[in-house]
């Protein structure tokens, strides 16, 4: 693979990371910073936080691009690029963590209604075309790889450095780990859809029709966001995996086709980071604000005492729910007082680690 394509791919990843952080910082409003509802007036300290994140992010992006583009020794280039992008994201996360400690949580109503009717099920939230696309994104590259894997030489390039040189060679079967990653992504998608459908479903007392509509829209948007992220991410991996295997099987690693495959793969992966966020997060924010206006909170039916650490963690032994809506931020969270919550969390962290450990052997 040519150094130029490697630079394009590396550059795209750097720009995508920069864009996500920059977008999160710039999308702040008087009520929300980094998309987190403040529950109080925005202060100068908040503005300074946003400014710091943007300055650090810009500096890190420049440093990371130097790592990608400048003629540095490969080890130094990789260290600079990875170090700078990690610093940008890490800095944002730390600032978000510190911000959460200063927000004022809404007063949680203790009165709520529960319907005896069956709540909408997972099927009501998913988009069938996107589900089919998600399955195909895993199945098609798997078929392609399974088809060409036997015709591959016993040692194939498994990884390229930033300059485009092969830096890891191994048996072609090692690339099955990419299939495992995609399968994990797909299971993660279905896990999230299940969690969204099983989330605590409580309504405000009285006429709840508007709340029901908003609540359903919130869940649909979360599912749609995850469907797109996983589809694009898996399409990125799949094109890289199946495409590279095809390219190597058809003759060496210097084909222009291989470079195109890598570029498409990187574009898809970058899109996975950026597009769904830019499209769906603002919609989710609007629905979330409307839900708060309608019922005072998005976490109706949860226990006030269960929300710890500024509302980030839910630990309520007297609540049988496993999944509840997040009180801070967007999405679903676990009731950590349920032993099953630790199994779910452990699985979500351990499985990718096991896959990378096996792949790295």
């Amino acid at each position: 693979m040519s150094g130029f394509v490697a630079q394009v791919c590396g550059g795209l990843s750097v720009i995508a990371t920069f864009a996500v952080v920059e977008w999160l910082a710039r999308s702040s409003t008087p009520e929300r910073v980094f998309q987190i509802a403040l529950g109080r007036a925005r202060t100068r300290a908040d503005d300074a936080r946003v400014r710091r994140v943007r300055v650090v992010n810009l500096a890190c992006a420049v440093a990371a691009l130097v790592g990608v583009l400048a003629p540095l020794p490969p080890g130094l280039a990789l260290g600079l690029t990875l170090g700078a992008t990690s610093l940008a994201v890490g800095w944002l996360l730390v600032e978000m963590g510190l911000l959460v400690r200063t927000i004022e949580l809404e007063d949680l109503p203790t009165r709520f209604a529960v319907s005896l009717e069956e709540p909408p099920s997972a099927r009501d939230y998913v988009s069938m075309p996107l589900q089919v696309a998600n399955v195909l994104a895993v199945v098609l590259p798997t078929i392609v790889f399974a088809w060409v894997v036997r015709s591959l030489p016993s040692a194939v390039p498994l990884h390229w450095d930033l300059a485009g040189h092969v830096d890891r060679v191994g048996p072609p079967a090692a690339a099955w780990s990419l299939g495992a990653v995609m399968l994990f992504d797909l299971l993660l998608l279905w896990g999230i859809v299940y969690a969204v459908a099983k989330e605590r479903w409580a309504l405000p007392p009285g006429d709840a029709s508007r709340y029901v509509a908003l609540s359903t829209e919130r869940r649909t948007l979360i599912v749609r966001l995850v469907e797109w992220v996983i589809l694009l991410a898996n399409a990125g991996i799949g094109v890289g995996w199946g495409g590279t295997a095809l390219g190597v099987a058809m003759g060496g690693d210097a084909l222009p086709g291989l470079a195109a495959v890598a570029a498409v793969s990187a574009v898809l992966a970058s899109a996975a980071c950026l597009l769904p966020l830019v499209v769906y997060v603002p919609k989710l924010r609007k629905v979330s604000d409307a839900l708060r206006a309608e019922a005072g909170t998005e976490v109706l039916g949860t226990r006030r005492a269960g929300w710890r650490w500024g509302g980030i963690v839910y630990f309520a032994p007297d609540d049988p729910a496993l999944f509840v809506p997040k009180r801070v931020g967007i999405g679903v969270t676990l009731n950590m007082a349920r032993p099953l919550a630790w199994v779910v969390l452990g699985g979500a962290i351990l499985i990718p680690l096991v896959i990378s450990a096996i792949a790295a052997r």
Binding site: R111, S115, L116, E117, D124, D207, A208, R303, D318, P320
Partner: protein
Amino acid sequence: MDLGAYRQPGVMPTIVLDLEGVVPLYRQIADGVRGLIAGGRLGEGDTLPSVRKLGGMLGVNLNTVAKAYRVLAEEGVVELRHGAAARVLAPPPPEDARPLDEEAARQLVDAVGKLKVRGASEDAVREVFEGAMGRFYEEGAGR
């Protein structure tokens, strides 16, 4: 997406809970189910959600739901069947022009007395009472 009953306000059979209310949770649940039956949302032969299911929906301990169901069974409102869903029983035939029995009358009088002592105005009590009469006694109530 078909949300059925969720789309129509007032059609959903709901139970209102107050996690920090003075009334114990099992009584709030029993009152809620009884209200649905009295209002015609649940009728004879309808089944109630299982204890586990209702506990999960309400976010309360299973024992609390089981206790609420036992209270309703003792009142003769529902029938608990081993290994099957609890079922709403037929209400006793209305006893025309007969006065309330002593216990029932005492409960109603006590309730009004409690409100008076807590400073509720006559109009406010009358409004709620008439609302309840309309909800439970008028033709087609709750349907």
